[in-house]
């Protein structure tokens, strides 16, 4: 028998199995699909990215205010005037990159089942 392993036809015969036709499998899988619904929409990832970035921004400022002698960021959080923000808003390219990377990270965690 040992030499048969080098014979393609013989090996194919040995490894070929009967069909598995099981209605229960199909039914339970369809139930699972019905429960899970459609794939997550892109705006869920965008919303998650926005939340993560906002919390990150706040956390960094708060930590800076707490652990450094230059609490410049604290008033920026608390006494923020929306009008001044929109007039003078300047988004550094690095911030855009951080938001994009956060979006990609959150998307890839679900897409590739990283968790």
């Amino acid at each position: 028998m040992k030499d048969d392993f080098l014979n393609d036809d013989w090996l194919t015969d040995q490894l070929t199995e009967e069909q598995l036709d099981d209605d229960n499998f199909s039914l339970s899988t369809m139930q699972l699909i019905n429960q899970q619904g459609q794939a997550t929409s892109w705006y869920i990832y965008a919303f998650s990215a926005a939340i993560v970035c906002s919390l990150g921004y706040l956390a960094i400022n708060v930590l800076l205010a707490l652990f450094t002698d230059a609490p410049i960021a604290k008033p920026a959080i608390i006494d923020m005037q929306w009008a001044t923000i929109f007039e003078h808003i300047q988004v550094a390219p690095i911030s855009v990159a951080v938001v994009a990377l956060t979006f990609a990270l959150i998307w890839s965690i679900e897409e590739f089942d990283l968790l």
Binding site: L15, S26, T29, Q36
Partner: protein, 177 residues
């Protein structure tokens, strides 16, 4: 027929069309996983279900390049790899010493078939062998399923066949002594 079903699912997420697609493809996927998981049927079927769920959710990413079954095999193999990573202990317990393994199999003489012997191959060796001989995938298709270079796939198939041959020799020697 299959192309039409895929198109219906891609365009309108039609559940009935997907169910038909699943009926057409469930057997090879489940058999592949059962062999990969060494006949742990319940776990294999769980992963098969997950494969079809993932296929349904991401069917728009299937662009019709290559067989639909190969695309399903790719998802199934990724889920299998992910499962074995989570179950590191299982992988570590893999029997490396073939002679010892054969001695452990009390009924090895009676069960000296390919189905028993492939248990002793490494998962990636088992996967390439099954995809090629049991499911008729070409070397090129296996490279896409397993995300490996062509040379590695060819080498894995060759190595696993030689390993099976050696296992059979050892089992015969063991039986004669």
């Amino acid at each position: 027929m299959e192309a039409n079903l895929i198109e219906r699912v891609q365009q309108s997420g039609e559940h009935h069309a997907f169910e038909q697609l699943m009926r057409l493809n469930q057997s090879p996927i489940r058999q592949f996983l059962r062999r990969l998981l060494q006949n742990e049927h319940a776990i294999a079927d769980d992963i098969a279900q997950e494969t079809f769920l993932k296929a349904f959710l991401h069917i728009k990413t299937y662009r019709g390049e290559g067989k639909f079954l190969s695309w399903l095999f790719k998802i199934a193999y990724q889920l299998f790899v992910s499962h074995t990573r989570k179950k590191q202990a299982l992988t570590n317990a893999e029997i490396e010493d073939v002679a010892d393994a054969i001695n452990l199999e009390n009924q090895f003489d009676a069960q000296r078939t390919v189905k028993v012997l492939i248990k002793y191959l490494k998962p990636e060796e088992r996967a390439t062998l099954l995809l090629h001989f049991s499911h008729g995938l070409s070397h090129q298709e296996i490279t896409e399923v397993m995300n490996m270079p062509l040379g590695t796939v060819k080498s894995l198939i060759r190595r696993s066949r030689l390993k099976l041959k050696t296992l059979a020799e050892q089992s015969e020697t063991g039986a004669n002594s």
